[in-house]
Amino acid sequence: MRIEVKDLRYSYGEAKVLSNIALDGVSLTVEEGDFFGIIGQTGSGKTTFVQHLNGLIKLGKDCGSIKVGGYDLGDKKCDFKALRASLGMVFQYPEYQLFAETVFDDVAFGVKNFMPEVSLEKTQEMVKEALTTVGLNYDKIKDKSPFDLSGGQKRRVAIAGVIVTKPEVLVLDEPVAGLDPVGKREFISLLHRLHGSFVKTIILVSHDMDLVAENCTKAAIFSHGKIYAVGSPKEIFSRYEELQNLGLDLPVTAYLTRALENNGVKINSDFTVDGFINAVRIKTNGKIDGGEL
């Protein structure tokens, strides 16, 4: 499913008040297969933008257009239930949204809600598959209360509740916040596993530049409700000064590349850690070759 947003506008309250404007003419296309990063300062409109993608925030009249695959969100006849089954959304701290008495009921909720035609047997199968996918043991965990689980387990259950309908697009808002380093690493590898299976497209909203540089194929910078730039992480993160002016950090790899560049050492990498390390030209005496600037 291709996502095509054109000239999207949104304001919290009256648009006449400048500080109310959250989105000010955003046009963005996310192709099927993208692992798309959305970065920008707090309040730049990232979350408001993604909340439009499944109709959580209703597209206003004369406020632009949003197309997700065959769904036209401006069309009155748009089937939002079906859309939400195929565009899954994981919010910040999704574990706070668990509500059911058992893990099974919590994960099954998405199926019952978005796909009411599915039989109980089939639902069971789907829940089992979702829990297994996120690395949990179905038989051991299905009857437990979600509130008796550890933080990491809760987050997995919450994700299972989103992927249970096998969405083609997965949108995640700060998904690794609050996880410890190992939990974070496991979570990212889960995302890549999903991206290689039924999930075709991932949209990741994050403040973590290292995360975006390492994992995304494309990224967009939001600033003051507008899109400031779109491109590969390599293109985005080589705009050192602009990023800084926007109040954004550089990934460590880009920070090092810039420092070396200022000292006459050219390193041409994609800003992934391994890409950076392999791009450093090392002399036999352990020094670094400057290369051609």
Binding site: T42, Q92, S150, G151, D180, V252, L256, N263, G286, K287
Partner: protein, 277 residues
């Protein structure tokens, strides 16, 4: 005697499994302490024990000589230990930002004129002066967290406990808050105990405690702690990314010194290695 002194503290939520086991930790005036550990290692439980939100089952914690085991000391302890938690939504109480920040000092009976001063100080410390008359519900997650921190700063605590309070901030917001915290620590000698998953927030600490399954597994300076990469991995932790990159470059033959923890230092060392020929 240390300002905060925890001795052989144990705590259990369900009387079966100990969330905190035999922990001893002391914080001196002006010390900057970082506590790291995997999810569920007992770090946050410790934070709640520090200001008497929960009481130890075994052992004792004293703050400025006041024991958390005695109920009558609760007020004195809370005046001295301010805790900022993970989720600001659980910590904001009022419908207007300045009322929220004033809530703490009002409860302590601080005179009105001084409350105003404290609000000014706290809001400017977190860079939120402009939002003084806003409703917290209309703020973003990061902005809310800065208000929560301001609410604690308004109490002028001797000890500031940060329980992953920067997790939801954007890089700029996180930097601002860390700067504020470091400034309070340096200039006003506020003791800081930061509980964090960000390894790069640990590198400037005086002392680092590593928790694993409720116990203190390691204690030392950041350099001492991050030397033990394999043990840290065993505890579900990692090196700061800059240290990881330094390690990988050394493995490829770059002649970098040991013990690089920050990107600033790594950049410096790499630039110094530029071959002149």
């Amino acid at each position: 005697m240390a300002l905060l002194n925890a001795e052989n503290v144990s705590f259990s939520y369900d009387k079966r499994i100990k969330a905190v086991k035999n922990v001893s930790l002391s914080a001196n005036e002006g010390e900057y302490i970082a506590v790291i550990g995997h999810n569920g290692s007992g770090k946050s439980t410790l934070a709640k024990l520090f200001n008497g939100l929960m009481r130890p089952d075994e052992g004792n914690i004293t703050v400025d000589g006041f024991s958390v085991l005695e109920k009558k000391h609760t007020f004195e302890i809370r005046k001295r230990v301010g805790v900022v938690f993970q989720n600001p939504d659980n910590q904001l109480v009022a419908s207007i930002v300045e009322d929220d920040v004033a809530f703490g000092p009002e409860n302590l009976g601080v005179p009105r004129a001084e409350i105003k001063e404290r609000i000014d100080f706290a809001l400017s410390a977190v860079g939120m002066e402009k939002f003084r008359h806003s409703s917290p519900t209309r703020l973003s997650g990061g902005q809310k967290q800065r208000i929560a921190i301001a609410g604690v700063l308004a109490l002028k605590p001797k000890i500031l406990v940060l329980d992953e309070s920067t997790a939801m901030l954007d890089p700029q917001g996180r930097k601002e808050v860390l700067q504020v915290v470091k400034k309070l620590n340096k200039e006003q000698k506020v003791t800081v105990i930061t509980i964090t998953h960000y390894m790069d927030e640990v590198v400037d600490a005086d002392t680092v405690y590593v928790m694993n399954d409720g116990e203190i597994a390691l204690k030392g300076t950041p350099a001492e702690i991050f030397k033990q990469k394999d043990r840290l991995k065993g505890y579900g932790l990692e090196l700061p990314l800059a240290a990881e990159i330094a390690d990988k470059l050394i493995a490829r033959g770059v002649r970098l010194p040991d013990g690089i923890l920050t990107e600033e230092r790594l950049a410096e060392e790499l630039c110094a290695l530029k071959s002149k020929i």
